[in-house]
Symmetry: C2
């Protein structure tokens, strides 16, 4: 069956090759934020003769076509997720690497207001929060108390 992303690609008039079909499927089934190597790993499980170069090329193609979005989480590599109607940001658990998505209309509005006050119209923005679970953060505080 054709995946969500494959359908989207056809709508956009992209030439559908076997490789693109496989990569589209992988990305449609993903509910995380895989990097290129991870996409390649998953794609290779479906068709082992897909090269990493093709994955790189396809990710760029899909990004330019606005089918997927690049996510920069501060580790050296690009991560990706399916493009969605609803905009969101990421909170990264620095202990586990777990990624929590969140959206905040108030925050978006505030950001918009700040730009306007500076005389600018926003064309893009980036926000990530790095954090540790509140209970484990307590542990940290206790640790520091013991070593002043």
């Amino acid at each position: 069956m054709t995946s969500r992303l494959e359908a989207l690609c056809m709508e956009k008039g992209l030439k559908m090759t076997g490789q693109r079909r496989v990569i589209s499927q992988v990305l449609s089934e993903a509910d995380d934020h895989p990097d290129v190597e991870e996409v390649h790993r998953r794609a290779a499980q479906i068709d082992p003769r897909i090269s990493i170069a093709t994955v790189y090329r396809t990710m760029r193609l899909l990004e330019d076509a606005q089918v997927i979005e690049r996510v920069d989480l501060g580790d050296g590599r690009a991560r990706y997720e399916e493009a969605t109607a609803d905009h969101h940001h990421h909170l990264i658990d620095t202990r586990t690497g777990r990624i929590i998505e969140f959206a905040s209309p108030e925050l978006e509005a505030m950001k918009e207001r700040i730009a306007r006050e500076l005389g600018y119209k926003i064309v893009g923005h980036r926000l990530e929060i790095y954090g540790v679970p509140l209970d484990e953060a307590d542990d940290d505080a206790r640790d520091e108390e013991k070593r002043p």
Copy 2:
């Protein structure tokens, strides 16, 4: 004369070499967000035999010592600025590359609240806004009207 950053380095007990003095001076005099190559270019004007490897090493040293801060503006390389008491973010003019600094306690508070609601304590965060001047943005809008 010893630069602000050189004094700071000595306070922190870092061994002061000629190269570190020059790089400290360059960074003290900078009021922008230079990348490593730019710092090297400026340092080489003072002492042409400073190598880029030493600049890389020194930037990391100063960053670890919290004397400077790394700024990630989304172009592939690391940029730096003197560490200041007051935290701020950057609005990048995508037309000119100009960087405007701004701070917003409300925004920081909101971000803090969002993390708390998700059960997290913030240990770091990143926010950049990319924009175009409001008047030029008007031009864009007009352009699009003419080509619907």
